[in-house]
Amino acid sequence: MWVLFGPVLALVVLGCRGPGPGPSSPASPRPVEAPQLPAEPGEVLAVVFTSVDCPIGNAMAPQLRRTLARAREQGVSTFLVYPRSGLTLDRAAEHARDYRLEGTILLDPDKHLVERFDARITPEGLVLECLGPDRFQVCYRGRINDLYASIGNRREQPSRHDLREAITLACQGRPVPEPHPPAVGCRIERVP
């Protein structure tokens, strides 16, 4: 089961080139059964696999916050997927609030989204284009930025903002050049 709540449903119908909704503050957690990522054909989605206590992901949160805010201005729906089993929605929402990350929160304890999009790490960013009902093209899957060269090796500042660039390209309908730099962070436990 995965669970959906947030500033959410208003965004779902908006395509990439539609008028961008202003950032809305998350409503109180409202679990919704949702078997698939809600999106309309042609819409671009930014999906970030994240975790409440990965120090690498948390260190990148300020840049990620700006990337997500900018994506929403471009009309992109943003999602925060928490794959950790046993995590409560309240805890996930608290994390998103503490780090001021805006996006629809999805809990994925059974790793449906993890498996489907082959996510391996938190934080890992995906840019998807919706092709039709529950059909997506993966435009990008990789790191948020290069703040970390590898686990334990942190730079002063990121010099490349790969997820942000990928979102911009996808919104312009242009391909994101390969290879997509792999995410550095905390490995997701596949087996629940």
Binding site: D53, C54, P55, G57, N58, A59, M60, A61, P62, Q63, R84, S85, G86, D98, Y99, R100, D146, A149, S150, I151, G152, N153, R154, R155, E156, Q157, S159, C186, R187, I188, E189, R190, V191
Partner: protein
């Protein structure tokens, strides 16, 4: 630390000559030894309010991240420990290979809990933070930051420019008489943001002026004051913690001092407030004891073009016989490795004092030798630091690399050898030597 049961298992594997494998041996369990291994090897930091980002104190803490932990432990990134050779030091965190393979086998097996032992528990609990000795003989001083300071959420102009990921605070003591400090215990309100915390005594008031000059609490400048290097009293970390000098030795704090704490921090993605305290455990002035003076072997400046690698070295000759009790290394993130050795007069080959193959400033601290090392007058101490300002250095804080020209009064890189003269009457001579060396190196 390893309880008998677990030990027996590991020894059994070795005796049978078989490579330990999950298929031939039942996997270790939490109650069968892993619990106490984790308490001893991870528990200090991965505890509530510890320096590490999450708690590791039960199988449930491990299960949802077991392959990640296995990756990190397998790559020897955890537990963090810098020393790869030289003299044995207290608190060595190197994970012995049998422990590492047992932990990995347990993670691979899905973190089995096993049977809790019947009767009295053989599982050692994580050691409680050791209470300070409250006896009259060791008066304790509780010092607190004058006002809290907020660590910013992310790096930027306030952080890390010229590698200034640090802030210096003044902890007023106002001691009318000299103090003899034998232990320091730093308790941070936000340990996860902190790497090393370096302490020094400042009787000059310069530190206070430096801090008053800054708009916010503390100062962005280093805690080097005149010839007293930052960290002269010792360095703890990551996240604070306790440092104790061996029986019979102390670090001196002159009358009318402030303690300067140079705090090295890393933004954590959200603001964190430092409102920290330092406990000094002192010896009465009448008690017998020998002062530890910071003999500073330093290289004052590092100048490297982008992409350049270079070995820096320097040496000094001890003017008097000393007992070296502790070593405190300093270098920035572009340093990859360092070596410290002593060549005794007329000795054939040098004695290795300290070897660090994979330097990481985040994890530096004062290293107290298991046994004080006696070095005669005339001993030459030599240090070498390998710097790598290329993008092949994963710890290079800037990509693409930029040229750097960094200097510090007490050394862009150094090792403080906390040393006690063997002869009491030679204390002054060693102090003078430290002054002269400091002036010589600054040119």
């Amino acid at each position: 630390m390893i309880p008998g049961l677990f030990h027996a298992m590991v020894v059994g594997m070795q005796l049978s000559g078989a490579v330990p494998s999950a298929t031939t041996e039942p996997p270790p369990t939490w109650h069968g030894g892993i619990g106490s291994l984790v308490a001893a090897r991870c528990g200090d930091c991965h505890a509530p309010d510890g320096a590490a980002p999450f708690v590791l104190a039960s199988p449930e803490d491990f299960r949802p991240r077991r392959s990640f932990v296995a990756e990190v432990v397998g790559n020897r990134l955890m537990p963090p420990w810098l020393v790869s050779g030289g003299r044995p030091v207290h608190g060595d965190r190197t994970l012995p290979e049998p422990d590492r393979s047992a932990l990995l086998a347990w993670l691979t097996a899905g973190c089995p809990t096993g049977e809790p032992p019947a009767g009295p528990s053989v599982v050692e609990e994580a050691p409680e933070a050791r209470p300070l000795d409250a006896s009259e003989a060791s008066p304790r001083l509780h010092l607190r930051m004058r006002s809290p300071w907020t660590v910013p959420a992310e790096g930027g102009v306030r952080w890390y420019k010229a590698e200034r990921d640090k802030r210096t605070f003044v902890l007023p003591v106002g001691n009318p008489r000299p103090l003899r400090v034998r232990a320091l215990d730093y308790r941070s309100a936000a340990p996860q943001t902190l790497g090393a915390v370096a302490f020094s005594a400042d009787p000059t008031g310069d530190g206070r002026r430096m801090v008053d000059w800054d708009e916010e609490p503390g100062s962005y400048m280093m805690a080097d004051i005149r010839s007293v290097p930052a960290g002269a009293l010792g360095i703890v970390g990551p996240g604070g913690g306790r440092l104790e000098y061996p029986e019979g030795f102390y670090v001196p704090v002159p009358p009318g001092s402030d303690i300067l704490s140079e705090v090295h921090y890393r933004p954590q993605g959200r603001e964190r407030v430092l409102d920290d305290t330092l406990v000094l455990e002192t010896l009465p002035n009448a008690a017998p004891g020998r002062p530890l003076l910071p003999v500073n072997l330093m290289v004052p400046r590092v100048t490297l073009k982008a992409g350049e690698t270079r070995r820096y070295a320097n040496q000094l000759t001890l003017p008097v016989a000393v007992d070296v009790v502790a070593l405190t290394p300093r270098a920035s993130a572009r340093c990859r490795a360092l070596r410290l050795e002593a060549r005794l007069p007329e000795a054939e080959s040098p004695v290795s004092l300290l070897e660090i193959d994979d330097w990481n400033p985040h994890y530096r601290s004062t290293l107290v030798l298991e046994q004080p090392l006696r070095l005669p007058a005339g001993t030459v101490i030599r240090g070498a630091w390998d710097y790598d300002n290329s993008d092949g250095n994963p710890r290079n804080p800037v990509v693409p690399p930029e040229s750097i020209d960094l200097g510090a009064r007490s050394g862009a890189m150094n090792v403080l050898l906390l040393s006690a003269p063997v002869e009491r009457r030679e204390v002054r001579e060693l102090m003078e030597f430290i002054e002269v060396e400091s002036r010589r190196n600054r040119g």
